[in-house]
Amino acid sequence: MSNQCEIRLSGSGGQGLILGGIILAEAALNDGKNAVQSQSYGPEARGGASKAEVIISDNDINYPKVRECDILLSLTQLACDEYLHTLKENGVLVIDESVKTPDRDDIKVYSLPILKTASEKIRKPMVANIVALAVINQITKVTTKESLEGAVLKRVPRGTEDINTNALKEGFNLVNA
């Protein structure tokens, strides 16, 4: 289980985090790894999920749920407040710059303008999830760049490939910058 990486993507419904989780998991498959993606629901199916979870591993994945995670993405304050305690010691926290940097000194925190990049640079707020994936990838190398690109292009609606490639690029840049 040591080579298992557990990732939680959190935010508000409509931010495309489930799709983000799926893409991340598929990227891991592209790398020849195992992956499990799951999510949580509100009352019946309505409203969409508030979080998505991905486990990536070289081995079989038994218990499919993320409890303590290695990587936590929080695009909203609410989500960060709710899930911060689930981040392991030495874990990586990626937050949108609008989220207050929490005072935990046992983790690495990356506060980046993810939402702004999507809405202002790419002018498509809905690609924030892709920007975030690029950011996570760039920081943690949880999948290869190529696999992530392949996974994104496979899942996004036809005709939006360029925008999404762009979102990836800007996401990578956010970290490099």
């Binding site: 509100g42 009352p43 019946e44 199916a45 309505r46 409203g47």
Partner: protein, 273 residues
Amino acid sequence: MTSTLVENHFRIGKLPHIWCPGCGHGIIMRSIAVAIDELGYDKNDVCVVSGIGCSSRAPGYMDFNTLHTLHGRALAYATGVKMANPDLKVIVITGDGDCAAIGGNHLIHASRRNIDITTVVFNNNIYGMTGGQYSPTTPTGEKGTTAPFGNIDRNFDLCNLAKGAGATYVARSTAYHANMVKQQVKAALENKGFSFVEAVSICPTYYGRKNKKGDAVSMMEYLKNSTVNVKAADKLPKEKLEGKFLVGEFYKSEEPEYTEEYKKIIDSFQKER
């Protein structure tokens, strides 16, 4: 701080409700509360019953005797409540799926019996709660997650159905026509018998998105622009009615009410003794 109306008729602690931004259900729910308020009913005398669905979540917010039952069964539960205590003003809040798909049989039988229950259907033409499957009121050709190639079912006209089955008050209004909803619910509550109010609602999240109807505002605009009052309809040329649907009171009659008829049987034995 909340408005006096909301303060007085809702369980404030449960608000804001879980419905999506722009969901029409909230508007209709408020209209029902205003109707009860204007009629001056004692809150203890009102019982609101629902099934399962987004719409059916309404009673949880309303400060009356409230009963959230099973999918489709609200009218059967309500029939039991009304039979047991005919003094209660019984209101059923239901969805198009809840009342016309799985609950269709209870609807036609409650109508037939003319039992004194006021049913308000929040008709958003879709199964909202389960994520956008087509319902018996989804117009033919439109899409749902289970009708990816367009719905081939013909849709019910719920008011026709209720009337055909025997309801003694039948009316339609929309979330846009919130005051009309209120008026109709008032008339329905005052009708001694089975009353059916179809309040056309909007579900921007699923129906709107699946069928490219735009956002909540566009859907409200549609309700505004696509309705013709039944009183005006006769006088309008046919072209003006194309693509429109009727709102207003369709039917009203006075007929023996079920629990009153049953009381007569009981009374006949009381006299005997």
